[in-house]
Subunit: 287 residues, 4 copies
């Protein structure tokens, strides 16, 4: 899984058709690229092809020529292609409210190098988590919600996202419903952590719902947001056993660990280019 | 967990009030019963007390006197009391349709002594699983469903349950919706295995629902039936990770193991007197 | 994961060198084979390449010509190649002693089609499990151990393995130490289930060892046998939590489920051509 | 599990004898203490009794009289008794080297109130983690190791432990072998996290050992230290699946999460008075 410092990631997806794998692998071979991992999956119900290849660049690798040649070769397949260079670090904006467990966890993983990302901004409707962000040297933007003008706050959020050049937005317990406009803009590149095993316990206070229902497992779901609340494509889910002695506050406490682990897993998958959208589902190659 | 051959189980539940634990333990001590495990839980939201004690009987133990004395002592507390003697084996009726994985698993566990039960009858709306039951020496009743007279079939089912003196009915993938009358009669002593993590994917074809939703975990739920379909109190839940490459038939295959393990666990808890109804939830002491 | 009825599996491994992936995928494309899953892994520490491809055969597929062409194309890479046709079922010999949980489980999975195998014989040093094998219509060979001539018994075992044309031998709690000669002969194609998380608790009575040590998890390990007892390459491991209240007999009971699941998983991987030997380790592609 | 602000914890253990449970529960009843959870276990192989009771104090509770009465009542049983008042917070010293994941995790859990402890000092042989401790407002003691006088460093460590009045020492990846003297002094009240599933992979570099062995699960073990390295009584173990593609550095990364969770769990059990020493094993009541 760990990669040598000269390793690229190539991902692509396109409609199912004969020749897709060969088109990719033959080009890589012709360019003397050394394939270290290759995973491809052809969804026979959706008729869609997904591929992820890690390869080491050869001596004298000419990136520009490589990209041009690859585009040309794959053009007939209508492939959505992405090429990620060695040492790439994703720019990420994290949105939070007051709960800090996911933020604390993500910043820690960035700090020790477990997530190859640069958190370029933390955005919140509350001031509470500024010290945590600051300690990690990350700009913190406090944009309070104006109940009379919610769009104004979202415009400021979006501005930060755009100005920082973020490629991923992480809703690390943001606790606010985004407007349809913002959802549309973030479609496919914003990850939310919901504190239940979706589709169970959608909506508010899922741990209280879980307590009422008397479930014996609680969980969390990391998913891409789309314009249908709590319904976006699922990337990762985690779960822990609970019992009758867990009151709602115990479920909340137990849930924190699951939320952290599940969100970190999903962010890692995204950053390492393992996740593909496949209608309202995801393909996660080599999770 | 394993018990010596002279070990009794005492369970009780009642409204929360001072003195419940002492009433039980003092009586046991006075009778020179040796407590080997004791678990009690007082639900502060439901204001209800639950207790389960394993104890070894003393020399010259007089069961009749013991029962009479215990009843008298606990009467003031309005305790629902159950006393299970050493070597007790529960009489169980299993209901099936065509899928045999849960039946095979339960009969195997009975055969090797892992579940202290006697399956006194297998009842089905199909003839398919008769050889499996016969091989284990268990009577098999094939009661086909008459679409014009469903109650007639249920009456025959109920007759078997009553005549065999079963204390537990297990719906091991029975696949038929029971009538409200039968549900009412079986309330609290019939366990169903549903092939999803309830409350997610209620109703028919849960694995197909799960595929459509693109979940990354599938599971099963063992619950007491009540008159609200797929809504009875949950006893146990199990879960396994899945990914994009699991087509519905793969989820079904994966689910079989979870269903077997989860149902066997719930049946074991019931038989060992670990489960208590607590409104629409369960308390499972020392799971 | 489930495959359409025209799906082949191609697996290969060889020393790491540029061009291996391309050699396989280009040939498949030239033959108009449609790749549905492709997983390859290049072990940078062992300098060894592993590949597993599922593909659908084209109309008018000529197996003989395909095999010949493939061999020729891959010859320069020194690839160990295996081609598994659609509908292939592995011939398997299962060896048992008296414990029947793994045998019961494997035969059940064969019966419902979850494991694409034909158990061609059950061999045992005890007569106990004959009824179970017979019920599934499988020949049972009782070869008692002669303490004065152990090799004689092993010769009879080996004769069955050879005469049935088995490609896989499964030691489903056989409980006897095989001679170095037999180990050598079965090297890489016999799977044993050991009832501990190897390398912890090697040797006899692992659950008693686990109890003494006071572990909070018990597990099982499915591994290829080699001539070093309990040291062969690990294919799969399973685990379950336990606590202080589990006496040795409880660990044994708990362990049965883990042993069944872990062994079934390993046998499935082997049959589906997912497992590759890699010195004293295994590569399991797309587990 | 969560407790109301007037809840005490009573724990005790003693040789097995008739009357232990009654002695405790009768006294609590006489004092009008309300029992909310009660768990007791009698180890029939070790002939030892363990009990943990949570109870709410009555109006006008007189702690001094209660303690005196309890001591007198339990004296005949030779009970090791511990009484933990509502709102109690354990004083804890954490020892670290350079790896900060466990320290970061423990301090986070203290900060949000999930672990009811006060970390009174962080002690290290390296200066690296001082900023992390300082940010949480916790004194950091850097005591470098003098290879010519290791005892001198340990004396300074011990002085901090004694002066802070710590009741628990946590070795959160301290990476140094303690002297037999220090082990003896900390026997039963110092928890170490070892990064393997003990007894597998004792000693140095367990993840490298695990890689060499090709295991499919890696784990961590939290245990009390005693004077036999990596052999102290186990409190908690955690585990995660891995595969062939995990190089040693990937196992190390994967292991971090398991180590954090397992150590936090063990510390929580200790602080909540759930753990009892039982020769070289532990009893963990209501884990």
């Amino acid at each position: 899984m760990s990669r040598t410092p000269d390793t690229w990631i190539l991902t692509a997806h396109c409609p199912s058709v004969l020749g897709t794998v060969d088109a990719v692998t033959r080009f890589l071979f012709e360019q003397r690229c050394y394939v270290t991992e290759h995973h491809s999956f052809d969804d026979r119900l959706a008729s869609r092809f997904f591929i992820r290849v890690e390869f080491r660049q050869p001596d004298g690798f000419d990136e520009q020529a490589f990209r041009a040649g690859l585009d040309e070769r794959l053009a007939p397949f209508d492939m959505q292609l992405e090429l990620t260079p060695p040492g790439y670090r994703a720019k990420v904006v994290i949105m939070v409210s007051k709960a800090d467990h996911c933020l604390n966890d993500l910043l820690y993983r960035q700090r020790i190098g477990q997530l190859a990302m640069d958190v370029v901004a933390v955005v919140s409707n509350h001031p509470d988590l500024e010290p945590l962000a600051r300690w990690h040297g990350i700009p913190y933007h406090h944009f309070p919600l104006d109940p009379n003008d919610k769009p104004a706050q979202e415009r400021r959020v979006l501005q930060v996202i755009e100005e920082t050049g973020a490629e991923l937005v992480v809703l690390a317990r943001y606790m606010q419903v985004l407007s349809p406009e913002l959802c549309r803009k973030l479609d496919g590149w914003a990850i939310n952590i919901h504190h239940s095993l979706l589709p169970g316990f959608k909506g508010a206070k899922p741990y209280h719902q879980a307590y009422q229902k008397g479930v014996k497992l609680v969980g969390a779901t990391a998913h891409y947001i789309n314009n249908d609340l709590d319904e976006g494509p699922i990337i990762a889910q985690g779960v822990e056993p609970v019992d009758h002695a867990h009151y709602p506050e115990d479920l909340i406490a137990k849930g924190r660990d699951i939320e952290c682990l599940t969100l970190a897993k999903a962010v890692g998958y995204h950053i390492e280019r393992r996740v593909f959208l496949n209608a309202n589902r995801t393909v996660v190659l080599n999770a």
